[in-house]
Symmetry: C2
Subunit: 213 residues, 2 copies
Amino acid sequence: MGTFRFHVAVSLDGYVAGPHQGVENPLGVGGMELHRWLFDLEAWRASEGQEGGEVNASTTVIEEAQANIGAVVMGRNMFGGGPGPWTEDPPWKGWWGENPPYHVPVFVLTHHPREPLKMDGGTTFFFVTDGIRSALDEARRAAGDKDVLLGGGASVIQQYLAGSIDRFELRVVPIVLGDGERLLENVGDLELEQVRAIEAPGVTHITYRVVRG
Amino acid sequence: MGTFRFHVAVSLDGYVAGPHQGVENPLGVGGMELHRWLFDLEAWRASEGQEGGEVNASTTVIEEAQANIGAVVMGRNMFGGGPGPWTEDPPWKGWWGENPPYHVPVFVLTHHPREPLKMDGGTTFFFVTDGIRSALDEARRAAGDKDVLLGGGASVIQQYLAGSIDRFELRVVPIVLGDGERLLENVGDLELEQVRAIEAPGVTHITYRVVRG
């Protein structure tokens, strides 16, 4: 069985999004700055169809984080489409267009049933209504020997952290957001081990393993 | 003129002390774990009169942090002796015994005047009652070309961060405290630049420079 893991950019004061998040501003005020180090990378620019950009220590970290993923779990907010049942017309298909960057089965946590949504490029969204345990089980089955990536957001990460996450990587970004959505809240007692730390321009990538008693 | 800087160990959720701080438990519940990486070091053990211990990447970081310091500024809580005027008998002389580990002038912020307190080994405590600006000015004069170290605690760091701190080093420790004293609260808009990150056993040392407009 692979590992169940996540990676997320976090401000120095512990936020994964700024205040006043909304459809117009999904990362909140100032939250886009969490990803400034990413936007300069050649790997990112290429994925957006742009040329140029840097290759630095973050490049390898990102490639590793994206490797060996067999399935993804994410919360309803991360998939989008607003709260409540799936009533949009045309139906909401996520933020990522016809060919989402996952290319594996993605299990979306929701309270509202919906038929699976097959996209281009190997991504199929499955909508799981019977809880986080069940979503992880399904994702593990789909992933086989590969890893399951937890996409987010913060509240879903918090729910999974105490019981199921094997390891995670923080991308510690030199900004202070002052308010917004905190990552490590309500996670109870958590025994962690630092696995490695990688310095890169504008960010430090630190990997932690969750130690189970 | 030297730099004005601080270094502090911080949990993954941003605390520099756990909950329920007090005389019996100055670092709060769980707060001692912030320094676990330190207690294993030969450099620490030697300063406590003990033999053995590790030499690792943290050793160099600590030596650098302790070098070139010409004066120290600290808050009343860090010096100790309780709130209010200096009425203890015998007079409170800080937590560090007759030969404190500073060996330079130390400027203690307080609301209550007190004569300077000369200790063994070159440390003299000066008690500054006219505010943080004045304490820093006095410390800079005493330090000459050397650096001024801000000892803490968190509230004093917050007061100095926006206007005066040149650089600081976070010792990011793989623990989650859940509650306690946060470091980066009420610091306003702060433009930072990551200077370097050093991986060491059980801790990552990240240095930031404060960018002034």
